[in-house]
């Protein structure tokens, strides 16, 4: 199928998410970087307290879609967006909405761990301080976040003095997760969070994601299909900026409806 045919395509959906279940409702989202279009009319709903994975070959727009959910794309000069992204019913692309306010409700973890060159404590406290949290409440919430990110046991005796950069790769990523969840964001976005980590660290993070979904809604971009299969409840498959198919993870991986999805799953391209 060429891009032309893809653009006419209607997303194939299995067991689509209802409005009531959705935390985020994307409606007709299209995005351009300058003259180049990166997302074509994407509509999809992300259900609460579940893990949704976005998969697809390189360059298909999965990171772009993810970053559209917290308006991180706004930071790229020359970007243009059409359509709506409803978060709890509010369109975050409404011109009256300040992107900075949006980002305080949504957490993000990046591909390569990027802790600040500060102490572990200060890393986790950063978002809380932005909200004005101080004193003992601050400290309690930092500890809580470190516990939930499964990092507390390893750093509890040094988290106030030691720099975040002294941790191993896997630990740094858990630190970034702790930093993101410290402010209790209902939505957590993860952009290939384990692709820079070794298998053991990857396993630890995947276990963590399964725990996190009890309190948070997670959307994870991954190029590792096995990971998507292990960790997510729903999966989106994208190609060339188009949402080809979406549905429950077992369906996508065992009974994909669209030939492209099947071709990708079985490794015939991408």
């Amino acid at each position: 199928m060429s891009l032309e045919m893809l653009k006419e395509h209607e997303t194939v959906r299995t067991a689509p998410v209802s409005e009531a279940e959705a935390l985020v409702d994307v409606r007709g989202l299209s995005l351009w970087y300058g003259k180049k279009q990166a997302l074509y009319d994407i509509s999809v709903r992300f259900p609460r307290n579940q893990v949704t994975a976005i998969i697809g070959p390189s360059g298909c727009g999965k990171s772009t879609l993810l970053r559209s959910l917290n308006r991180m794309n706004d930071l790229v000069p020359g970007v243009r967006v059409e359509g709506e992204v409803l978060y709890e019913g509010v369109n975050i692309y409404d011109p009256r909405v300040d992107p900075v306010a949006v980002r305080r409700h949504i957490g993000m973890v990046f591909q390569k761990p990027n802790p600040f060159p500060k102490t572990i404590f200060e890393n986790v406290a950063f978002g809380l301080r932005l909200m004005g949290v101080k004193g003992s409440e601050l400290e309690d919430r930092v500890v809580e976040a470190l516990k939930r990110a499964a990092l507390w046991e390893e750093v509890k005796d040094r988290f106030k003095k030691e720099s975040g950069l002294r941790l191993s790769g896997g630990q740094q990523q858990r630190l970034c997760i702790a930093r993101a969840i410290a402010v209790e964001p209902p939505l957590l976005l993860m952009d290939e969070p384990t692709s820079a980590l070794d298998p053991i660290a990857t396993q630890a993070i995947e276990d963590l994601i399964l725990e996190l979904k009890e309190r948070y809604t997670v959307v994870i971009v991954t190029h590792n299909m096995q990971q998507a299969a292990r960790v997510s409840d729903r999966t989106l498959f994208m190609h060339l900026g188009v949402l080809v198919e979406e549905g429950p993870t077992e369906v996508i991986f065992t009974k994909p409806k669209h030939p492209y999805t099947e071709a990708y799953i079985t490794g015939r391209f991408g």
Binding site: N70, M72, L75, P77, V100, A101, V102, R103, R104, H105, I106, G107, M108, F110, K112, N114, P115, F116, P117, K118, F126, G127, L130, L165, C176, R179, A180, V183
Partner: protein
């Protein structure tokens, strides 16, 4: 042409002996400039050090040209010198106890430690304002002729091996006589002018760097500022001096004071600080900014809570290096009024003043051989200060180097 492949010889490949030789000579020739440059530095340092020590025959204006043993306090030395000059015990004691009198005495006389004298090594000598230098020899010649000179000493004369850079040099004021000249005033002047200049250059320099790197990475204002900065960096420092002369000294009526100098030097320092600050900011990886934005920080919060703290060691190093460059600037300050003979310590931003490089210039251009020695001592002081700053910057750079 009957060479078999089983026994190839190097000649089969036709190495050209000429070209190999050229290549080798070429490579060696390229190192020549470095060798010459290092040679120049060595000669420079050597000349300065050598010139800063001399053997002299000095005739004391008052008194017998005595020397005093090492270990005595300066006041005690002076007391004994007064006695030697013919004052009585009570006169000497009252002169030394009265603070005004004592101050005058110390102004007119310099107590210094000589490495060798006619009465033995490491002894104190009191040099008066009107002491006259009878003969002055370079180190080697003087040492060679030491005994001969010692034998030929006349009434009231002393023979000394004089290190021009000594503790008293650092604390004395400039003077008409090279024997009592010192760099103390210039040191204070430099401290005053530099501190005030940095007070201007640092906020403007770092502010501009932050604006260009974090807020306005492109656009018309960015381009205007960048072109402007590039041109300012290429303007000769003496033109800044003319600016200072016309605007600060004359137009604003600030006169030849520390304030004019600080304003002029501050403007001069801005482009340098902008460059180093921008480098430090640029070295902070973009992913840190992204992480901070994703947490919902505003641009101000991202810049001042994450980026600047991360870039801080680099910026501090940059400031130290800029300060080192500013310390050595003489031309613009000469224009703004550091030229006059200034024999007293500055008391505030509206004082007259001089700075180290200007003082050195004045001494060098006096064309009197001993002032060349004084200048050499001054240069050693300046080089020591600069080395100190460079080592500090290097230490900071290494200590706070980060692997992102």
């Amino acid at each position: 042409m009957n060479r078999t492949l089983s026994s190839p010889s190097p000649e089969a490949f036709g190495t050209d002996p000429w070209k190999t030789r050229i290549d080798r000579t070429f490579a060696r020739a390229l190192v020549l400039p470095l060798v010459l440059a290092i040679g120049l530095l060595v000669l420079l340092l050597g000349d300065t050090l050598y010139r800063s020590v001399s053997v002299q025959v000095v005739r004391a204006d008052e008194g017998p040209g005595r020397t005093y043993p090492f270990g005595l306090a300066a006041t005690e030395v002076l007391r004994q010198e007064l006695l030697a000059r013919g004052y009585t015990e009570e006169e000497a004691r009252s002169l030394l106890q009265d603070p005004t009198e004592r101050r005058v005495l110390f102004l007119q006389n310099r107590v210094e430690l000589m490495w060798n004298t006619q009465e033995g090594p490491f002894r104190y000598v009191v040099t008066g304002l009107r002491d006259e230098r009878v003969a002055d020899f370079s180190l080697l010649e003087g040492l060679r002729r030491w005994e001969e000179l010692k034998a030929g000493l006349g009434e009231g004369e002393r023979l000394v091996l004089n290190p021009w850079l000594d503790q008293s040099f650092l604390t004395r004021t400039p003077s008409r006589s090279p024997l009592t000249a010192g760099i103390g005033v210039a040191i204070w002047g430099t401290i005053w002018v530099l501190s005030l200049a940095l007070l201007i250059a640092i906020p403007v320099g770092i502010g501009t760097a932050i604006l260009l790197e974090e807020y306005l990475r492109e656009g018309t204002l960015n381009r205007i500022l960048e072109v402007n900065l590039r041109n300012l960096a290429g303007v000769p420092s003496i033109v800044y001096g003319l600016l200072g002369l016309a605007i600060f000294v004359r137009e604003m009526g600030l006169g030849p004071t520390i304030l004019s100098a600080a304003l002029t030097l501050g403007l001069l320092g801005i482009p340098v600080i902008v460059v180093t600050a921008r480098e430090s900011l640029r070295a902070v990886p973009e992913s840190l900014r992204q992480a901070a934005f994703a947490l919902g920080a505003t641009r101000r919060q991202v810049v001042f809570r994450v980026v600047v703290p991360a870039a801080l060691p680099g910026m501090v190093t940059g400031v130290i290096l800029s300060a080192a460059r500013l310390i050595g600037e003489a031309a613009p300050l000469l224009l703004v009024g550091a030229a006059a003979y200034v024999p007293f310590y500055p008391t505030g931003p509206l004082s007259e003043y001089t700075v180290i490089p200007v003082q050195i210039y004045l001494w060098v251009s006096m064309n009197i051989p001993e002032f060349a020695r004084v200048a050499a001592a001054g240069i050693l002081v300046m080089l020591l200060v600069l080395s100190g700053l460079y080592f500090l910057a290097l230490y900071l750079r290494n200590r706070f180097r980060r692997e992102w």
